[in-house]
């Protein structure tokens, strides 16, 4: 299974990015082969509008099974993510990707 994290870096010790649409990186963990990969999302900085839907499109292309993020996507992005049946977990901010992963495994994150 593949998990996507919104993050400020690309390592397990990198901090989570609380933002969805304007997250710096999307980090993907594939627990099947235990590989951490990342997508640099910084191009979205130049978007004045529609950052949320643009990042939702990117999530669709990366096709994880679960999205773990901080503040939670806005209503447009949620609409797009629900369209592709994405499971969305929020409130994983002020922590590293590793800590967010642990919290997810312990069922401590909020699913929307």
């Amino acid at each position: 299974m593949k998990l996507a994290f919104t993050a400020k870096g690309t390592e397990w010790d990198s901090m989570m990015d609380p933002r969805f649409g304007r997250t710096q990186f999307i980090v993907i963990y594939d627990d099947h082969n235990q590989i951490l990969t990342s997508f640099n999302n910084s191009a979205v900085e130049h978007e004045a509008h529609g950052a949320g839907t643009a990042t939702a499109q990117k999530i669709f292309e990366l096709s994880p099974d679960v999205l773990i993020t901080g503040n939670g996507p806005g209503s447009h992005a949620v609409q797009a993510l629900k369209q592709i049946n994405m499971r969305i977990f929020t409130e994983a901010h002020n922590m590293t990707i590793k800590q967010a992963f642990e919290k997810y495994k312990n069922g401590e994150l909020n699913e929307i």
Binding site: H49, G50, A51, T53, A54, Q57, F60, H76, Q83
Partner: protein
């Protein structure tokens, strides 16, 4: 004066809550004591000039914008619509096209370029425009529906309505949105004179500076009204002198003014000093704008 468009006096500010509506409503009502005038509330995200006037509704219409609607059977999923949308308002998610009307800027690119006409444009209500009459005062306002994000097309349409219906008047007063972003540019770009109203505080000065720079970029004649004069410091006055910007008036900080405003009353009718300030402001605006109506 017939066959001319009115002198448009826009009342703007950098900072919100500095007195745009206070000045706009009082100035318009003051002018209406002598002649017909139109007051246009262009702060369509939060119009509040209307709180001060009870009149007869003479016209009401829906404001609409055009957005694409997906015609599924015609779609070949070529992905062009998503690629051309600068606003990420059209997404292709597998075998589905999702359109986000609130994000759409009505550019028609997706609709026109779609090879199979699978995204026809349809109209969508975004709010309503009302036109009221209170004796000599015409009051036009538009109000966005809750959840609508784009003020600019509504502001543009509201200006157009006023232009089409009130060309015979000598003066139009525009109550503009706060800030310096697109809605303010749209609201002020056809003005003959811009009044920037501020409060004499560090925050007021900071945002006034941004507003002055914006209006300079638009090459607008402008003047500053200092509201609640007496609080804060003299930095706004010093700034205006240094930058050679005329201070049209200083409205004193007064509990009585705040009380009148909060009970929905016009201030100049109760406080003669304010009436004199309005007269000074109006004379200056008309004098400077004269080139625009010659």
């Amino acid at each position: 004066m017939t066959n001319h468009s009115p002198v448009r006096i826009a009342i703007a500010s950098g900072k919100g809550g500095t007195g745009k509506t206070t000045l706009a409503t009082n100035l318009a009502a003051y002018i209406a004591e002598q002649e017909e005038v139109v007051l246009v509330d262009l702060d369509v995200e939060e119009p509040n000039s209307g709180l001060f006037f009870k009149g007869d509704l003479i016209h009401e219409e829906s404001n609409v914008k055009m957005t694409p609607q997906w015609d599924e059977p015609k779609c070949t999923f070529c992905g062009l619509c998503q690629k051309v949308c600068n606003f990420h308002a059209v997404l292709q998610l597998g075998p589905t096209i999702l359109v986000f009307p609130e994000l759409c800027h009505s550019c028609y690119a997706c609709s026109e370029l779609c090879p199979t006409d699978a995204l026809p444009m349809i109209s969508k209500r975004t709010g309503k425009l009302s036109d009221l009459r209170i004796n000599n005062l015409h009051f036009v306002e538009s109000r966005l529906d809750v959840g609508e994000e784009q003020a600019v097309p509504t502001i543009s349409k509201t200006k157009q309505y006023s232009n089409e219906n009130y060309t015979h008047l000598r003066i139009e007063i525009d109550d503009c949105p706060p800030g310096i972003s697109c809605p303010v540019i749209e609201a002020t770009k056809n003005a003959h004179f811009v009044i920037l109203i501020t409060e004499p505080t560090p925050f007021g000065l900071h945002d006034l500076t941004l507003a002055v720079e914006t209006m300079r970029a638009l090459k607008k004649p402008m003047g500053v009204v200092v509201n609640r004069y007496g609080i804060g410091n003299e930095a706004v006055i010093d700034y205006c002198q240094k930058e050679n910007i005329t201070i049209l008036a200083k409205i004193p900080n007064s509990r009585r003014i705040a009380e009148l405003y909060s009970s929905g009353k016009l201030i100049y009718q109760e406080i003669p000093e304010v009436k004199e300030l309005l007269s000074t402001i109006l004379d200056y605006c008309l004098k400077v704008s004269k080139g625009g109506i010659a």
